[in-house]
Subunit: 113 residues, 2 copies
DNA sequence: CCATCATTTCGATTATCATTGAAATATGGA
DNA sequence: TCCATATTTCAATGATAATCGAAATGATGG
């Protein structure tokens, strides 16, 4: 994943409404949710929601499929995975998430015993 | 880490110049870099750089300390850690980075064997 | 306390983003 | 076809962000 895609993904999530939308989609899992339901859950009016969903989709953080007269949106987990991977590898001092330790970022070598 | 802080942290990184600055700081480690050096490395003019550094500091992604007539900036690793933690826990379908598996995000239960 | 260097603030400009009602489009069923 | 429902586009508005030269501020050593 290249720099530009990373900035797009970060920008997609760096907004109250969109982060809320994305979290809602994550909770819904692969089944996803129709736009109307997302609007209902988040309280974001349809036209605003559509704007934000387009942003998320454009950043490849969400996908959509037509189901009858509904449009079902789903979180794109692989992009989130790639984003976390990038942050871990490029923004954590070269100490990627070592197995068996939840905290990922440690500035220098100094592997905590 | 609460929602607002997360959005701030994401917004701080969701910008070409600032992501570049942050990565530069990460590479520099806890020793950090003076503003002038960052400007030199990234090619961002001092006034723009100062603007972006303030953004990063305000989002608690970077810290500064005075050293003689230099101002040394350092990446705030703990905030990045918290950010990665949030994304992993809240945006990855409840499958936080299980030890001994690098990919964090899997939509449903289905723990890969 | 002055000359010098490092950094920040100011100010003006331009661009981009967020919001939302109303109208348009698409879909499926009677 | 025609209606009801779901979603998107349009358009207008207000808000926020990015850029950078020039001037101001802060720090140090002589």
């Amino acid at each position: 994943m290249e720099m530009k895609a990373i900035v797009n993904a970060l920008a997609a999530l760096a907004q109250d409404s969109r982060l809320a939308i994305y979290r809602t989609l994550v909770q819904a899992g692969p089944a996803g949710l129709p736009a109307g339901k997302i609007s209902e859950i988040t309280g974001i009016p349809p036209s605003s929601l559509s704007f934000h969903l387009k942003e998320l989709a454009h950043a490849d953080m969400a996908n959509s499929r037509q189901d009858g007269r509904f449009v079902i949106y789903t979180a794109n987990f692989s992009t989130m995975n790639a984003l976390i991977g990038y942050l871990t590898e490029n923004c954590c001092g070269g100490n990627p998430c070592t197995p068996a330790s939840s905290p990922c970022c440690t500035p220098t070598e100094e592997t905590p015993s």
